[in-house]
């Protein structure tokens, strides 16, 4: 499928309906297979996986790992011709959802392997590279990892210092170290990002992706002690003159940053679907608690403030699920650019899960706080999602800047703009022109079911508001926009809410077409709640573009930096 991404169009006020209607769904045959697969997965976990013990011992026992491999969970995205299961993006996401429902440490281990670890090989590898590596990665005989982050380069991934020096023979010598690498202690094959140019001020850093075998001399440190997902292995990985043959360059030399960004774009969808799974589990636990626990002579589920929490959990889970599987559907339909959409799913998913786990623990109250019950572990496990695969702060900036950039420009440019504010953003200047041109585009939702007309109007109205706000801030601030993170956040938050509403409307339209309005009543109700909450937030945001205390808040922060903390005391 060609054409600009749904969200990039929306930034111009154009509702690209054709992209999101009809709401995608897996084929019958893949759906059937997924049912059978999930049944196997549940049986395996019930018999073999003790999440409490895994959390306490901070390790996945060998027999669990072996069982996961035998089950085929390491080969989900590897095509069948290479011995994998060959699931679609949607199928993969759904299966990871199921695993995340059962155990987050396992989900992260599997994600480190195939959401990101071997993804560059899948996306950019040559036939020879795939033939050589994929079969053993598919069975889990080899485990993969994705090694980008370094002590001095987390969010700012382009600042990595690991060097790959070309030898006279054309091979590379790797030197440097990576930190916090998921599967660092298990991996046999690592996707490693390193500089293939010297570090000169003002020079474009050239980064290259390599497929590196541990056997060539890669060292890893001990497992880090972590807050959550404690059964996953997170270690330092270091390279001391590790020789990598030139055949193991992934993609083009010097284009490694693009490789990393593409891998993360796709990886974020697995993260989001994992959040769907965790939310569903927590909702089930909370609902059970609502029946069980009595206070003041009544089940706590009867109290309004508890019902409100449950309703929010369900509505947010519905929005997240709708967005995530809309996006995986777009990937399966081979739409080229889904980077904003997947970033939105990651941000919304990790935050919806964080709210959900917090509310579920609150409903459980005392027992929620006790280690005897799983709530506190689920809370600890959920926290990582806001941090890795791009922090939510970075992704909000990305959503806004990338959306304002318009279709067709490379993500790399956005990162560059954040890094090099002065030179970065020539591209923004023609935004106004494109905006004017796109005014001819459609701004209406025509394919939404009439039962959802109120929600469609919210979408249309605020899509217009987003486009106008973007236009205005760009006129006003020009290239300075890259320094204006408060504004970026407003834009990103509107974009996130708009995508949520669009996904719910598309999904519910499909449900109504299938089952009639009565049959789809619950989806209609949820869409209505999602849209109303989104409208509420967007209304406030739209006003705050002009009226806000951004400068005051910045000044307060700056002063406190000078003070070294909080300046007052009542004494």
């Amino acid at each position: 499928m060609h054409g600009p991404s749904f969200m990039k169009s929306l930034f111009h006020g154009v509702v690209a309906e054709g992209t999101i209607f009809p709401y995608p769904e897996p084929t019958q045959s893949e759906g059937d297979n997924l049912h059978i697969m999930m049944d196997s997965v549940r049986k395996f976990f019930a018999a073999n996986v003790d999440s409490r013990k895994i959390d306490r011992d901070a390790v996945l026992p060998d027999d669990v790992l072996r069982g996961l491999k035998e089950l085929g969970l390491f080969g989900l995205v590897v095509p069948q011709e290479y011995g994998g299961v060959g699931l679609s993006a949607t199928g993969y996401a759904r299966l990871i959802e199921e695993v995340a429902t059962l155990d987050a440490s396992v989900a992260v281990t599997l994600g480190g392997h195939q959401s990101i670890g071997l993804k560059a090989l899948l996306l950019f590898g040559t036939d020879e590279q795939k033939k050589k590596y994929l079969p053993r990665l598919a069975t889990g005989e080899h485990v993969a990892a994705f090694a980008l982050t370094e002590p001095g380069a987390g969010s700012d991934a382009a600042a990595i210092q690991t060097r790959a020096e070309e030898t006279p023979e054309g091979d590379y010598l790797l030197n440097g170290s990576k930190i916090w690498i998921t599967n660092g202690g298990l991996a046999d094959v690592l996707t490693v990002f390193a500089r293939t140019s010297s570090i000169e001020e003002g020079m474009k850093p050239r980064i290259t992706a390599f497929l590196v075998e541990r056997a060539w001399g890669v060292k890893s440190g001990p497992n880090e002690h972590k807050l959550g997902i404690r059964g996953s292995s997170t270690t330092e990985v270091s390279f001391d003159n590790v020789r990598v043959p030139k055949e193991n360059v992934l993609g083009e030399v010097g284009r490694g940053f693009k490789v990393a960004m593409e891998v993360l774009n796709s990886g974020r969808l697995g993260l989001a679907s994992g959040c769907v799974g965790s939310c569903k589990r927590l909702i089930k636990m909370a609902v059970e608690r609502c029946h069980e626990r009595k206070a003041f002579g009544r089940p706590i589920g009867e109290f309004g403030l508890i019902k409100d929490k449950i309703a929010s959990m369900i509505a947010e889970c519905f929005a997240l699920e709708s967005m995530t599987y809309l996006t995986t559907g777009l990937v399966d339909a081979k739409i080229e650019d889904y980077s904003i959409e997947s970033a939105i799913c990651k941000v919304y998913g990790s935050e919806a899960l964080w709210r959900t786990v917090n509310d579920a623990l609150q409903i459980a109250a005392g027992i929620g706080y006790m280690q005897e019950y799983p709530y506190e572990r689920l809370l600890r496990d959920a926290r990582i999602n806001l941090i890795f695969e791009g922090t939510n702060e970075i992704l909000r900036c990305f959503i806004a800047l990338s959306g304002m950039q318009g279709p067709g420009k490379e993500l790399v440019e956005v990162a560059k703009a954040i890094r090099e504010p002065i030179k970065g953003f020539g591209l923004l200047s023609d935004f106004a022109i494109r905006k004017a041109r796109s005014a001819l585009g459609r701004e209406r939702m025509t394919r939404a079911h009439p039962a959802l007309s109120r929600e469609s109007v919210i979408l249309e109205q605020y899509a217009g508001d987003l486009a106008r706000s973007v236009d205005k801030v760009m006129r006003k601030h020009g290239n300075q926009i890259h320094e204006m993170q408060f504004t970026q956040r407003r834009i990103a938050d509107m974009a996130i809410d708009l995508y949520a509403v669009a996904a719910c409307v598309a999904r519910t339209t499909r449900a109504i077409e299938r089952r009639g309005e009565e049959g789809a009543r619950r989806e209609i109700d949820l869409t209505s709640v999602v849209a109303a909450a989104a409208e509420e937030r967007m209304k406030q945001i739209a006003q705050s573009f002009d009226r806000n205390d951004d400068e005051l808040r910045k000044a307060i922060a700056s002063k406190s930096y000078a003070d070294g903390g909080y300046p007052f005391d009542i004494l």
Binding site: N33, H35, I36, S40, K43, F44, A47, L76, G84
Partner: protein, 274 residues
């Protein structure tokens, strides 16, 4: 040995609260489905009888699974194929159009076509709980039967030594093949089944096996044929007629009792059992 295993999907017992009754029928839309657990035990038993447990990949017999239902029920068959069954047959019909007797008559015709040495069934369905088909089928075929098997030892694939679970203990029967056997939960214990191919020292893991994901994809290539119910039994009249369905009454809230004396008191005055 050739084994035929009839199996069926049932609505997920964990979703019992979703079941609705309307217009003299159980509403099935929106329910989630699972293989009937006792049928899964029968498939597991059949697989154990036709393999060397130390190398379960090589098949040493033939297991055919059959279900009676609409197209969607093929998922249940595919799941069984994925765990190792060799071929599958779907008899096209719906739950409303069959009862235990018609099922037994149709299975008899299928047995005559497929010529298995053994028909293995779950002792009952966890939805209808009728517990009839194995017994009726054995009668119609004129074959020996052993129901509620908790343990089976194959004697050179000529006869089976079956330990039947009955109230108060177990009964051992030797049945000569061909025969009809229905199985109970204990059959899937580590040592529930002893086949001539598996060393006696081998221990299975408890419970039924589950399919590896690659095998689930590969199972698509195994044979799954469709048969019309009338091809097996031209007479599709039912012996059982349902006249109505009611949900069980909601349970009344219980009471907490503090002392034994109070318990005795309540048993006397409220429960009136003492």
């Amino acid at each position: 040995m050739k084994i035929l295993v009839p199996l069926k999907r049932v609505s997920d017992p964990d979703n019992a609260n979703k079941i609705k009754v309307g217009a003299g029928k159980v509403e099935t839309t929106g329910l989630e489905w699972k293989p009937n657990p006792f049928d899964e035990y029968a498939v597991e038993t059949a697989l154990r009888l036709t393999e060397n447990g130390t190398n379960a990949k090589a098949r040493l017999g033939e297991v055919t699974v059959v279900t009676f239902g609409p197209k969607e029920t093929e998922t249940t068959l595919r799941a069984a194929l994925a765990t190792g069954a060799d071929k599958a047959i779907r008899v096209d019909t719906t739950d409303d159009a069959i009862d235990g007797d018609l099922l037994a008559r149709a299975l008899k015709a299928l047995v005559e076509r497929e010529k298995p040495d053994l028909v293995l069934l779950g002792k009952q369905q966890v939805d209808g709980d009728a517990n009839q088909v194995a017994q009726l089928l054995a009668e119609y075929l004129g074959w020996p039967q052993a129901t509620f098997a908790g343990q089976i030892t194959s004697e050179a694939d000529k006869a089976l030594l079956v330990s039947r679970e009955v109230d108060g203990g177990s009964i051992k029967l030797r049945v000569t093949l061909p025969a009809v056997v229905s199985v109970d939960l204990r059959i899937v214990n580590a040592v529930g089944v002893t086949s001539m191919h598996t060393p006696p020292t081998h221990k299975y893991s408890d419970g039924v096996r589950f399919a590896a994901l690659m095998a689930i994809m590969a199972a698509k290539k195994k044979s799954l044929t469709e048969v019309k119910l009338t091809d097996l039994s031209p007479d599709t009249a039912l012996k059982i007629k349902y006249t109505g369905f009611d949900l069980p009454p909601a349970r009344k809230a219980g009471v907490k009792i503090k002392t034994v004396a109070e318990l005795v008191q309540k048993l006397k005055t409220e429960a009136k059992v003492l």
